[in-house]
Structures are given as C-alpha cells and as structure tokens.
C-alpha cells in the first residue's frame, strides 16, 4: 500500500472516529451535499453575506473587548487609544463600526428579497419569524453598541432612546431602570450596555441564527418565482 493510500485510510479512520462519537460529519454532509433549486440568484446569497458579517463582527468585537475598558472614566479614552495608539486598532474598530451599518443594509435587503419571493409561505413561516427576531436583535445591538464610544452624541442619543423605552405601558419604568442600571444616568449604564451588547444579545442571536440556518437547510431555499423554467417552481405549487 502506497503512502498516499495509507494517508487516505488514516484520514478516513479519523473521520469515522469523529462521526462515531459525534455524528457531526453526517450533519456536515446533510448541510453541504444537498441540491438547491435552479431558480436561485445573487439575491439568495444575502443570507450568507449576513453570516459572514456576523462572524466578522464577532471577531472584531472579541478583539475590541481585549482593549476596551467599560467604565465612565476609561471608556472614551480606551476608544481613542484603540483608534490612534494600537497597531491596526483603527482597522478593527472601523470594521466593527462599518460592519454594523453594512449588516443593517443587508438585513433590509434580505428581508425585502424574501418578502418579494414569498419565502414566508408554508412551510417556512418559522424561518421568517426567526429572521424578524434576528432583525430586531440586530437593531438592539446597534442601539447598545452606539453608547459604548461614550461621546456626547452617543450618550444623549441613548438617553432619548432609553427615555422612549421607558414610556412603554406597564413595563416602561422597569425597562428604564434595567437599561440605565439604576434610577439615574451614571457610568453604570456602560457596564449594563456592555453586558447586553457582548453577552445577552449575541447569545440570543447565535441561537436564533443557528435555528434559522437549520430551518433553511431542512426546508430548502425558495426559488425566485419569476424563474418559470425551474421545475421546483411548478405552477401547481402556486395556485
């Protein structure tokens, strides 16, 4: 047996071992080796583009967290240091900041494309609902992340934003106290927003994105309805 064959057998043994213990290779095959309808276009790549930006945000966010100091007397100074002092700091912060904006644009486009194609119809209602929840949480990420720069613009925009949340019927006063971390606007609000931005929302987002991808894989991609030559778009499926 040649060395190539030996290496191949060894790789298969390792893969079998992993599959035996975790089943992950089966899932991997289920995800990767499947057919998608012929009637798909670049609009169907927006979901993947969003996943790429989410991963980019997670990576740049994790790097920023190593240098950012979430307290009233250090937050702004650490942002200035990240931007001006550390090597490539401005790239990491800039990509995190502009990644957020690009993500919101992509979210709107992805939702619009899904809406136009009727991708929320049976049996994909839950896929749509998880998508809307992801959208709402992303807006929450934008709201909480904006404050962390701790400049005047961000602070006062957040004060107005939190006051607005505080006007909600019944829950308003509790939301108000929860978001600002007490009865007044103090530096405590940074710790509160930092935790929400770093842990609470990303945790929920990761779970929802996982569920969203699972549903898309399980139920298949909706073909563009105007691609009439795609057999998956058979007219019987419409009327």
């Amino acid at each position: 047996m040649g060395i190539t064959q030996q290496a191949r057998n060894a790789a298969v043994d390792v893969a079998d071992g992993i599959e035996d213990r975790t089943g992950l290779i089966g899932y991997h095959r289920w995800f990767l080796f499947r057919n998608v309808p012929r009637g798909i276009s670049i609009w169907h790549s927006l979901g993947f583009a969003l996943l790429v930006v989410f991963v980019l945000q997670a990576i740049t966010g994790a790097i920023l967290a190593m240098y950012y100091q979430p307290a009233a007397n250090t937050a702004y100074e650490s942002i200035v240091a990240i931007t001006t002092q550390y090597d490539w700091g401005w790239v990491v912060r800039g990509m995190h900041k502009w990644g957020a904006s690009v993500m919101i644009v992509l979210l709107f486009l992805h939702m619009a494309a899904s809406f136009v194609m009727g991708a929320y119809r049976y049996p994909r209602e839950l896929t749509w609902i998880t998508g809307v929840l992801i959208f709402a949480l992303m807006m929450g990420m934008g709201f909480t992340g904006y404050l962390l720069v701790w400049d005047n613009r961000a602070f006062w925009a957040t004060v107005v934003g939190i006051n607005i949340n505080g006007t909600a019927p019944f829950l308003g006063p509790y939301i108000l106290d929860f978001l600002r971390g007490g009865p007044e606007y103090t530096g405590q609000i940074i710790a509160r927003f930092y935790a929400i931005h770093m842990l609470h929302i990303p945790g929920a987002l990761a779970a929802l994105i996982g569920l969203h991808i699972y549903l898309v894989t399980r139920l298949g991609v909706t073909p563009a309805p105007w691609k009439t030559d795609d057999p998956a778009n058979h007219p019987e499926a419409w009327s």
């Binding site: 583009a49 009727g118 005047n152």
Partner: protein, 323 residues
C-alpha cells in the same frame, strides 16, 4: 408528519413536489452555490474595509485614502469638530489650528472633508448636559417618527405604538397572507405594502438626517430677547433646546415640537416648570430629558416664563412674565 396515516393536504403535497423537483433537477449546493456565496461574502467584506479606510483617512488624517497618521498625528475630536463645522467660532478655530500645528508640526488640513463621520466626538459629560441627540443613521426613521408624533397626545403613538405595531405585523405576516401565490405580479396588495414601506423608511431616514444646524431666531421682540430665558433656550450649551425644538424658524424640527407659538396653548408657567423638571409628569411618553438638576430652580422658571411669551410677545412686558 407526526401521524403518517393522516392524508396530506394540498400545501403539504405541493411542498413534497418542490422537494422532489429540487432533488431531481436542482443544482448541488456545494461547490456551485457555495462559490457564489463566497464571492458575495468577499465583496461585502471589501465594502466594509473600504468604508473603514475612507472613514479613518478623512476623519483621522484629514485626507481621503491617507492612512499614514497615528498617535498624536491623528486629529482630535475637537479638531474634527472644526472640520465638520460643529465649531464655528473664528477665535476658537484659530486656536485649534494653532494647537494642531504645535502638536504635530504640520499645517492644519484646511481642505479636509469628513464625508462619512468623525472618529468620535467630545467625551460624554452627563453632568453638563451638552445635549445633541443624533442616533446612528439606521435609527433615523424612528427618530423622525418622533417629529411626526410630537403633539403631546400622540407622543406615545410615535415612541411605542407605531414601532411595536410594525414589529408585530412583520412577525404575524406569514399568518395574515396565507395564499400560496408567490409571483409578485399576482400579489398586488403585498407588493404595494412593501413598496410603500420601503419609500416611507427611506424618506423618513432622509428626513431624520436633515435636522440641521441651529440658525438665527427670528420674529421675537427686543423685550423677549432681553428675557433671561432667551439665552437659556437659544444659546445655553446645557440646555441645547434648539437641538430638538424650533423657535422662530431656528433649531431643529424634531424630535420635539415647534415652540414658536407655545404660549397659545395656554399651559401656564407652573405647567412649564413641572414639565421642564420632569417631562413625563406632564406628557406621558415624552422622550425629552429632565432638566431638574441641569438648570437651577431660577433658570427653570426663567425658561418657563420665556416659553409662555412665544406667540404672545406682549407678555414680555407683563411683570408676571418679565420679572
């Protein structure tokens, strides 16, 4: 199916046909579609990187695509404010420029433009309340809702009502629109709703971004301008009232209401005082910050009296308001 013996309905049969057609006639996800996805992903990352470089070079180094500056050479928040026009006092501008040259040994970049955004503004100072609420651009449409619903009886509708309704509508949409037709040309109602939503979102985002700089206040009498409340409302950096309100054609048309004819609402000085101290005590749902502790008791009273002359300038000579 949890019960295999149950007959399939039309929708389930149609979905099975889709699955079958995709299996028999579809394209492999890997490597065909994963390649397209990867290309789109790379383009998107490229766009983000380009925005980052444009942002840092313009706001940090003063020249588009120049990323050579670092450390002390990077423009400070104050220097960036000179470039954006946020600081318009000539003496202050000269001082800032001289300071830049002294620190960096370079001329101040006179022709610099910050098209995207500054790197950061001045550090937040909750105590002195330099109030300039500008949300991130993707919240401008919500920001503009406050302008539309600025009437006290409708504030709650703009702050909570409409956004909540929109979110609930989005979540419930698959259950409201249950036909199986997916071709846009045969779904006129859904397509119209989408186009209207898109136009409203885009125009609200645009209008929200337009709340510009504070200009000169017009239409006030000399007596009104002489009132102590005038300075506090128009020029005081703690109040920044005109960041959210208009008075005599100056200021921003939102998120707060136009105050030019505030006196005609007959609210009275006491109401104004209580509202300034704690806005939600008088207008449930108000997003305005409380000015108790920001202004002194005397200053709040002065602002209240000044507001009660807007639209009724003859009151400015009445001892009840002028004192």
């Amino acid at each position: 199916m949890t019960d295999p013996s149950k007959p399939l309905n039309d929708r389930q049969r149609a979905f099975l046909r889709y699955k079958q057609a995709t299996k028999e006639h579809g394209r492999p996800f890997f490597p065909h579609e994963t390649f397209t996805d990867t290309v789109v992903g790379v383009v998107v990352v490229g766009i983000i990187l380009t925005l980052t470089v444009a942002w840092y070079s313009m706001a940090g180094c003063g020249q588009l695509w120049d990323i050579s500056c670092s450390g002390d050479q990077v423009l400070t928040a104050h220097e960036q404010a000179v470039i954006t026009g946020e600081i318009d006092d000539e003496a202050e501008i000269s001082k800032v420029k001289a300071g830049f040259t002294e620190r960096t040994g370079r001329e101040f970049p006179e022709d610099a433009r910050i098209v995207l955004e500054p790197l950061y503004e001045e550090k937040a100072d909750p105590a002195t309340t330099k109030y300039h609420p500008r949300p991130e651009w993707y919240f401008y449409f919500l920001f503009y809702l406050l302008v539309i619903f600025s009437s006290p009886s409708l504030v709650l509708m703009g702050t909570i009502g409409v956004p909540t309704l929109m979110l609930v509508l989005l979540l419930a949409w698959p259950f409201l629109d249950r036909s199986r037709e997916r071709r846009p040309s045969r779904r006129p109602l859904a397509m119209t709703a989408m186009v209207v939503t898109a136009v409203v979102l885009l125009s609200f985002t645009w209008l929200g971004a337009q709340s510009g700089k504070v200009g000169g206040v017009e239409g006030l009498t000399d007596e009104q301008v002489a009132m102590p409340g005038y300075e506090l409302v128009v020029n005081d950096s703690r109040g920044q009232c005109l960041a959210c309100h208009m008075v005599g054609g100056a200021g921003n048309s939102g998120p707060g209401p136009d105050l030019s004819e505030e006196a005609l609402l007959n609210r009275g000085i006491e109401w104004q005082i209580e509202h300034l101290k704690q806005p939600t005590s008088q207008i449930p749902g108000s997003g305005m910050p409380a000015y108790e502790g920001v202004f002194s008791e005397e200053e709040i009273e002065a602002v209240a009296k000044f507001l009660e002359t807007l639209g009724m300038p003859e009151r400015a000579t009445d001892p009840e308001y002028a004192s």
